[in-house]
């Protein structure tokens, strides 16, 4: 044992410890931290993979889905687990990769009744959900509970990702006040996705979580990265705090999760 690290941990985390910005102190912060992944699908799976590898000590995973063969084109941690609950499959993966990580599995759907109680236990929230209703719900809950949040979404060859630190920068509703009308959302048939795309976006989300926990670098606060895999381009879009924002603006209309309607829309991917 040196500095609280056992021999295996020293080897496992040596490439982190060597970094001046991390060191043993930073690694300890990671081990003592808790991150919540909303969804263990396209975005959640790669985020879980790297958060576990990094030694984020507590990893909450919420998903009510079962692994389907069509998931394996992009959700590589679920290999060999078709038919199993995604949270169980993810937990198996994490346990094999890094025994330092304690998985808290929620085999349920995130909703207005359970969200506040769940996010309260975590330092950083990764939204890997696949529909607008959940994204708005997660955003609003994180603003109310003051939880930093990474938003990611993907479509065909394109992805977007931004970090929300409530009251320190804009939130998701500063950008989009409401879900787009149903006709504007592509139908499920149209919602193809290049398998590598969510890997890139989900790992950017994990990177933000790790940086936030370590307190290093510049977060994607007030900035949205728009990634185009076909062009292989990363564009940065500045986002302003919206004074009229219904949840974090000067006179917010949304004051509680319970009294707000989060319409269920078709799953986009």
């Amino acid at each position: 044992m040196i500095g609280g690290f056992g021999e295996e941990q020293i080897r496992r985390y040596s490439r982190h410890i060597i970094l001046p910005e991390v060191g043993g102190k930073g690694q300890k912060k990671l081990l003592e931290s808790a991150a919540l992944c909303i969804g263990a699908g396209g975005l959640g799976a790669p985020a879980i993979e790297y958060l576990a590898a990094a030694g984020v000590g507590t990893l909450g995973i919420i998903d009510d889905d079962v692994v389907d063969l069509s998931n394996l084109q992009r959700q590589v941690i679920h290999g060999g687990n078709v038919g199993i609950q995604k949270v169980k499959s993810a937990e198996q993966f994490v346990n094999r990769l890094n025994p330092d990580v304690n998985v808290v599995a929620y085999t349920e759907r995130l909703n207005q009744d359970n969200i506040l109680g769940i996010i309260r236990d975590y330092d950083f929230i990764i939204d890997g959900s696949d529909n607008f209703a959940t994204r708005f719900l997660v955003n609003d809950a994180c603003v109310f509970e003051n939880k930093p949040l990474s938003h990611g979404s993907i479509f065909r060859f394109e992805g977007q990702v931004t970090t929300i630190v409530p009251h320190k920068g804009p939130c998701y509703r500063c950008l989009f006040e409401h879900a787009p009308p149903p006709g504007m959302v592509p139908s499920c048939q149209e919602a193809g996705v290049l398998g590598v795309l969510p890997g890139i976006i989900g790992i950017i989300q994990a990177t933000e979580a790790i940086k936030y926990i370590l307190g290093i670098g510049e977060l994607l606060v007030g900035r949205l990265i728009y990634y185009d895999a076909l062009n292989m381009s990363f564009d940065e879009i500045k986002i302003q705090w919206n004074k009229e924002c219904p949840v974090c603006g000067e006179a917010p209309k949304i004051r509680s999760i319970a009294e707000t309607t989060y319409a269920e829309s078709c799953r986009v991917w």
Binding site: I2, G3, F5, I10, R11, S14, I17, I18, P20, G23, G24, K25
Partner: protein, 85 residues
């Protein structure tokens, strides 16, 4: 760890025996040990891995620490004295 007065200040001296350890763990373990100490404390490290004698002091200097001395104290055995900055 022992304490002894030097220049009027109380400075701790710690030791770490890294015989049998190779790079990069020579540096990783030295760094972890330094993190346990207070600024100004001295660490005496032992290495028998020749590349470590060049690499570890260079990496420690990069992190801002002071190398007080490097001495070959035996056949393939080196003692490096480091001050935590």
């Amino acid at each position: 760890m022992q304490n002894h007065a030097e220049c009027g200040d109380t400075m701790a001296v710690a030791e770490i025996d890294l015989k049998g350890e190779v790079c990069p763990y020579t540096f990783v373990k030295t760094k972890l040990k330094l993190e346990e100490l207070e600024i100004g404390d001295e660490l005496v490290a032992l290495y028998d891995h020749a590349p470590a004698v060049e690499n570890v002091p260079r990496s420690l200097r990069n992190e801002g620490h002071k190398i007080l001395g490097i001495k070959e104290i035996g056949d393939h055995l080196w003692q490096v004295r480091i001050q935590k900055v």
